[in-house]
Amino acid sequence: MSDDALNRLSGPLADPSREAGYPAQHPPRVGFFTDTSVCIGCKACEVACKEWNLLPEDGLELTGMSYDNTGGLGASTWRHVAFVEQRIDPASRARVDLGMPGMGGSTVPEAEESGELRWLMSSDVCKHCTHAACLDVCPTGALFRSEHGTVVVQDEVCNGCGYCVPACPYGVIDVRPSDGGAFKCTLCQDRLGEGLAPACATACPTESIQYGPLEELRQRAQHRLEQLHEQGISEARLYGHEPDDGVGGDGAFFLLLDEPEVYGLPPDPVVTTRDLPTMALCAAGAAVAAAAAVVGCFWGGGR
């Protein structure tokens, strides 16, 4: 099999829109670089997203775990700001055990606290994967690759089968119970066509959410990472920026200050369809074996 044929399921792919059939002169691939080191947790992105995309209210409960009462991404929440409270040793940048009162039932008194308290805040969003599992498994063609290299649901086509929901390695897309259809971030497809930036990036007051051509964002992110490392923030790392990762690189990638799973992100996501050829082979083998077994059961008499 050639590299090109393999690329359709996994591996680095320079131009997903071209691969999806758009002419060579399609617009450049765009995305988000979310620099969580400057996120202040204001949730303007969540509000702007809800407002622009007319997303319905989907719960007003208090989670009781932090200032994050959104909980996670969903059918009607396309931006989600995560809050993590930690204590670190400023010298080693290592985590210090944090005796938080509250949910965990920890008994460490506050007086024993040491180190520097910090909040990690990060605005999560659909990753617009180079190899998007949701798009691959969608049986109706409702999910499609846009000319901008993003992944979008066509609501008029979606029949609510829900296959995209467990297919996403990041747990982004979901079915809206009131409506039955699947929904997720479109990277403001309607704004892109007019030359506007997505609502969340426009609303972000600290430029934590940066929008632009993916190539440019990757360079910008590399520069920012070096800058932070020079400042001694050794724990800064990029997430989802590498074209040779399990999903062929994310269209929306991040600069994080701790392990991805601390923010609710998978540490090493892989597009499930990478293994589809193996699955198909095993299924064909098992099906033929089962049919042969049934035929074999008629061996000899049996009347």
């Binding site: 775990m65 609510g160 747990g171 259809g181 059961c297």
Partner: protein, 318 residues
Amino acid sequence: MSPGDVEATRRPSEDRPPFRSYYGRPVIKEPTWKVPDVPAYLYLGGTAGSSAVMAAVAGVRGQTRLRRVGRLCAAGGSAASVLALVHDLGRPARFLNMLRVFKPTSPLSVGSWILAPFSAVTTAVAASEVTGIAPFLARPASVVGAVLGTGMTTYTAVLLADTAVPGWHEVHRELPFVFASSAVLGAGALATALTPREQSLPARRMTVLGAVGELVSGSLMERRAGRISEAYRTGRAGNVLRAARALAVVAAGAALRAGRGGTAAWLAGVCGTAASAATRYGVFEAGRTTARDPYYTVVPQRERARRDEDSPDHRSEG
């Protein structure tokens, strides 16, 4: 220990390494597929597929009573399978959108293109069987049904495995064999109960073979599942799968004696059907458990990433 950071000892009975997560919340989304719709769809489709194969062979060999049972089970099972699938859709009125495109990358698209013609063909064949109209057309149609039925037995295994759900994806090589065995068991059990003794020998053999296949492939799957096997051994999924194994053993034993008595045939039928359905439901439930708990996503991925870093061509710093 900060509440948002570490979540290590929720089930101290299991040997779990500490891992970090976001307040213990799941990383991936739990499937929105409903119970009993989807487990029923899995069971009915597989049983109908294997019944169609059995009916075609019985037709060729002139075993008319067995053929009749096979044809009716194939038609009934596939029709019920379609209903369960449509009922599970968020927008059932748009079911036909499944046939709007053919996407080889989507097991549900491929499956719909197997299921739709399969249910049409098996319904026509069953109608001919009952009414006696055009039997000369029923035989070639029955062979077409058998070919499609072969696909029916395992496409649903790919459907589950082709997701980010660790409990399904990690066993993507073994799951088709479990589902294929479960399909043979399901079809054999139904036919054992519904066919007169003198023609039910192939069905009884199918019950035994399917049960043995389910036990062997099931234990192989659990052995190869690594950390994920916890979900198959514990909780509701573990209980259901243990019950399925016990029922499969009873069904096989009863099928071996069903040549002599009607009670044994019915016992084989009931236990085999229950075992086949319980296996599908147990696998479905185990997958849902692994989707809910971040442990199953974070720890295996961490371990895989560490292995990749140890290998010589590891990726650059990230």
